[in-house]
C-alpha cells in the first residue's frame, strides 16, 4: 500500500544497502531535517491562509481572494513581503538577545515535531517519554517571549512579556494535568503506545466524563499556552499595541508569527493524539463494513483531519471571544481549571484502577 511508512522503510532499506550505518544515519537525519523545515513552511502558509479565511467567513467578509486561485497564494505573497522587508533593531535594544529570541521560538517549535506520530509507523523519534518531552520543551517557548520583551527596550514589550510569563507558567499546570489523565488511563508516556491504546476506540469516547473534562481543559489551557485569543494578553493588540513583538519587523517578526502557528499545530496534534486517537481511524463497535471503509482512508489523513479540526476550534475561539484581563486570566487558572483538573485526575485514576473504561 502507498503510505508514509512504506516510503520511509523503502528509503531506509535502500540507504542501508548502499552506505554504511553511520552514513545512513546522517543522511536520514538530513532528510528528516529537510522534511521538518519543509513541513514547517508548508504548514505556516496553510495555517495563515486558514486563519484568514476562517476569520473572514465568521466576520461576513470574503477574505483574501486576489492572489492565486481563491486567494490561496496570499500567504505566499505575504511571506515574500516579509522576506524583503527591512529587519530593524531599535537603537536601545540588547542586540544579541533581540536577534536570538525569534530563533529560540523557532527552534523550540521545531524540537516539538520530534515525537509526533504523523501517520501509521511514521514518527521521527518514538521516545518513551514523548508526552513529557512535549510539555517540557513547549514551556521553553516562554523564554523566547521573555527574551524578546526584555531586549526590545520597549515598555509595551516588557509588559507583554511579563504577562506571558505569568500566563504560561500557570497554564502549564492544567495542561499537564489534563494530559496526565490520559497517561494514567494508558499507563504509558510514549506517543506510539498512547495511539495504539486507542485502537478499539478513542479516549474521548472510551474515557467517559473524566477524559471529556480533561479534553476541554486541555483545549483551554493550550489556547492560553500558545498565546491565542481570548488569552492573547502577551500581544493584546488594543492594550499593548503588539506586546512582546512590538519592535520586531521583517523576517524576525515572521519567525515569531510562524512559531505561533507551529505551536498551535503542535498542541493540536498532541490533543488529537491523546484524545482523538492520533492516526487511528474512527471505528464503531462491530460494524465491519463501516470500519473497513474507515480503515481504507489513509492514516495521515486521519491525523491531519483531527489536527486541523482542533486548529479550527482554536481559531473559532479567537474570532468569537473578547480578551480576558490579566487578573481574570490567572483567576480562571487557579480558581477553576486547576482545582477541576486535580479533581479530574483523581477520578481518572480511580477509573483506571477499577477498569471502568471500555
Amino acid at each position: 500500500m502507498w503510505s508514509f511508512s512504506h516510503i520511509a522503510d523503502f528509503i531506509h532499506e535502500w540507504l542501508s544497502s548502499t552506505f554504511n550505518p553511520t552514513w545512513t544515519l546522517i543522511i536520514e537525519m538530513v532528510i528528516a531535517g529537510v522534511c521538518v523545515i519543509g513541513l514547517f513552511a508548508a504548514l505556516g502558509l496553510v495555517l495563515v491562509i486558514m486563519e484568514r479565511k476562517v476569520s473572514a467567513w465568521i466576520q461576513i467578509r470574503l477574505g483574501p481572494n486576489r492572489v492565486g486561485p481563491k486567494g490561496m497564494l496570499q500567504s505566499l505573497a505575504d511571506t515574500l513581503k516579509l522576506l524583503v522587508k527591512e529587519g530593524m533593531t531599535p537603537s536601545g535594544a540588547d542586540k544579541f538577545l533581540f536577534n536570538l529570541a525569534p530563533f529560540i521560538a523557532m527552534i523550540v517549535a521545531m524540537l516539538l515535531f520530534a515525537p509526533i506520530a504523523f501517520a501509521k509507523d511514521f514518527q521521527l523519534w518514538d521516545l518513551n517519554i514523548g508526552v513529557l518531552y512535549v510539555s517540557a520543551v513547549s514551556s521553553i517557548m516562554v523564554i523566547s517571549i521573555l527574551m524578546a520583551g526584555w531586549s526590545s527596550n520597549n515598555k509595551y514589550s516588557l509588559m507583554g512579556a511579563m504577562r506571558s510569563g505569568a500566563q504560561i507558567v500557570s497554564y502549564e499546570l492544567s495542561a499537564g494535568l489534563s494530559i496526565l489523565a490520559v497517561v494514567v488511563l494508558t499507563g504509558s508516556l510514549s506517543i506510539s503506545d498512547i495511539v495504539m491504546s486507542q485502537a478499539d476506540g478513542w479516549w474521548i469516547f472510551k474515557g467517559h466524563i473524566p477524559v471529556i473534562i480533561a479534553f476541554i481543559i486541555f483545549l483551554i489551557a493550550v489556547t492560553a499556552e500558545t498565546n491565542r485569543a481570548p488569552f492573547d494578553l502577551a500581544e493584546a493588540e488594543s492594550e499593548l499595541t503588539a506586546g512582546f513583538h512590538t519592535e520586531y519587523s521583517g523576517m524576525k517578526f515572521a519567525l515569531f508569527f510562524l512559531a505561533e502557528y507551529m505551536n498551535v499545530f503542535i498542541v493540536c496534534a498532541i490533543g488529537a493524539t491523546l484524545f482523538l486517537g492520533g492516526w487511528m481511524p474512527f471505528h464503531i463497535g462491530n460494524w465491519e463494513g463501516f470500519n473497513h471503509v474507515m480503515d481504507w482512508i489513509p492514516s495521515s489523513v486521519w491525523f491531519f483531519g483531527k489536527t486541523f479540526f482542533l486548529i479550527f476550534v482554536i481559531m473559532w475561539f479567537r474570532w468569537t471571544f473578547p480578551r480576558l484581563r490579566i487578573d481574570q486570566l490567572l483567576n480562571l487558572e487557579w480558581k477553576y481549571l486547576l482545582p477541576i483538573s486535580m479533581f479530574n485526575i483523581l477520578l481518572a485514576t480511580l477509573m483506571a484502577i477499577m477498569g471502568w473504561h471500555f
Binding site: I60, K155, T320, P322, R325
Partner: protein
C-alpha cells in the same frame, strides 16, 4: 466579583521609584484616533492618566468666525463626525433661534428622523469598536452591516455618507428621497432581525460581563461635577437627556423613554447605548409613516444676518450634550462661536475613573466613554 481598587488620590500619584510612565497614543489601536494619554503605572495598575490633546485641533471656532451663517454649518460635520447630522442640527437651530423663523412641520420631522438614524449609526459603530477594544474583532464587522444600511439611506437622501451638510437654517437642504420611507422600514426590519445577535455575541458573554461589571465606577455626583453628559451620566443614574429635559423640535410630542441605569460602571454605560438604540428605533417607527406634507424648508433671505445678541442651543448628540453658543454683532458672520462638545468633558473624567484599575480596563473605559477625538479637539 472583581472590584476596582480604591480610587487613588492626587497625593498618592507623585512619581515614585519603580513607576512606569507609558505614552498611549497618539498612534495606538485603542485610542481610535489621535488621543495621547500619558499613563503612570505601578505594575499593571494605573495610578494616573493625563490626556494630551491637540493632534487634530483645527480651531473650528476660529474658522467659523469668518464664515457666514449658511457656510459654517458644514464645518461642524467634521467635529463629531459620527453625529454629523446632529451637529448640523444644533447649528441650524441656533441660527434659527436668532432669526426667529418658523420651521415647517415636515422639515422638523425629517430632521428628527435623520438625527435618530445618525444616533443608531453612531452607537452601532461604538458597539463594534468597543468590542474590538476588548479583543473581540468579529462584532466590529457585524455592526458595520447595519451601519452601512443607514449610510446608504443617508447617501440616497443627503448625497453623502458621513459629512452630509443636510441641515440648513430654515429646514433641510433637499426633500427626502422617494425611496426614503421604504428603505428606513427595511432597515428597521433588518435591525429587529439582527439585534439579538448583539446580545449573543457580546452582551451575554461571560468574559465581556466580567470585563465590564464593577469597572470604571462613576458616582452620580462625580458625573455631574465633571460636566459629563449623555450616556456617561445616564449610566450613573443622572437624568440628562436634553431631548427630555429641554425638548427641541418635536421631541416633546414623541413617545420615548429616557434610558437610565444605576450601575455607574462600564457595563451600565454599555447597556445605556444598547437600549438607546431601541428607543431611537421607537422614535423612527412613530415618525416614518407620519411625515407631514408641506415645505421642507422655510423661506429665508439669501444673506442671513443675526441680530446683535447671544444665542445658545443645546441638543443631545450620540455622545451627550452639544452646546452651540453664538455671539452675534449683527453681521453676516458670528463674532464668536463656541461649541461645547460632549467628548471634551467626558474625557476629563477618564483620569478619575481609571485610577486603580488595570490597563485592560482603561481601554474598556475609553470604549464606554465613546470618545471621538475630533469632537474633543474641535
Amino acid at each position: 466579583m472583581y472590584r476596582q481598587t480604591d480610587i487613588i488620590s492626587d497625593a498618592q500619584v507623585s512619581p515614585q521609584e519603580g513607576d512606569l510612565v507609558i505614552n498611549v497614543g497618539p498612534q495606538h489601536p485603542a485610542t481610535h484616533g489621535v488621543l495621547h494619554l500619558v499613563i503612570t503605572l505601578n505594575g499593571e495598575t494605573i495610578k494616573k492618566v493625563e490626556p494630551h490633546l491637540g493632534y487634530i485641533h483645527r480651531s473650528i471656532e476660529k474658522m467659523c468666525e469668518s464664515l457666514t451663517y449658511r457656510q459654517f454649518i458644514y464645518v461642524t460635520s467634521r467635529m463629531d463626525y459620527l453625529s454629523a447630522h446632529i451637529n448640523n442640527h444644533a447649528c441650524a437651530l441656533c441660527v434659527e433661534k436668532g432669526l426667529q423663523v418658523e420651521i415647517p412641520a415636515r422639515a422638523q420631522v425629517i430632521r428628527v428622523l435623520m438625527d435618530e438614524l445618525t444616533r443608531i449609526a453612531s452607537h452601532e459603530l461604538w458597539w463594534g469598536a468597543m468590542a474590538m477594544d476588548l479583543g473581540a474583532f468579529t462584532p466590529f464587522f457585524h455592526a458595520f452591516r447595519e451601519r452601512e444600511t443607514i449610510n446608504d439611506i443617508m447617501e440616497e437622501t443627503c448625497g453623502a455618507r458621513l459629512t452630509m451638510n443636510y441641515m440648513v437654517p430654515g429646514g433641510v437642504m433637499q426633500d427626502v428621497h422617494p425611496n426614503f420611507q421604504r428603505r428606513v422600514k427595511e432597515f428597521i426590519q433588518l435591525y429587529k432581525r439582527k439585534i439579538h445577535e448583539y446580545d449573543e455575541l457580546v452582551t451575554g458573554n461571560i468574559i465581556f460581563q466580567n470585563r465590564m461589571k464593577g469597572v470604571g465606577y462613576l458616582s452620580p455626583e462625580d458625573a455631574v461635577a465633571y460636566g459629563c453628559s449623555g450616556p456617561v451620566t445616564r449610566g450613573s443614574g443622572v437624568s440628562s437627556d436634553i431631548r427630555k429635559i429641554y425638548p427641541y423640535e418635536i421631541y416633546d410630542k414623541l413617545n420615548f423613554d429616557e434610558v437610565l441605569e444605576s450601575g455607574g460602571d462600564s457595563f451600565a454605560r454599555y447597556m445605556i447605548r444598547i437600549r438607546e438604540m431601541h428607543e431611537s428605533i421607537k422614535i423612527i417607527e412613530q415618525l416614518i409613516d407620519n411625515i407631514p406634507e408641506g415645505d421642507f424648508q422655510a423661506k429665508t433671505k439669501a444673506v442671513l444676518k443675526l441680530p446683535k445678541g447671544e444665542f445658545y442651543t443645546r441638543v443631545e448628540t450620540a455622545r451627550g450634550e452639544l452646546g452651540v453658543y453664538i455671539v452675534s454683532e449683527g453681521g453676516t458672520t458670528p463674532y464668536r462661536i463656541k461649541f461645547r462638545s460632549p467628548g471634551f468633558s467626558n474625557l476629563s473624567v477618564l483620569d478619575h475613573i481609571a485610577r486603580g484599575s488595570k490597563i485592560g480596563d482603561l481601554v474598556a473605559m475609553m470604549g464606554t466613554l465613546d470618545l471621538v477625538i475630533p469632537d474633543i479637539d474641535r
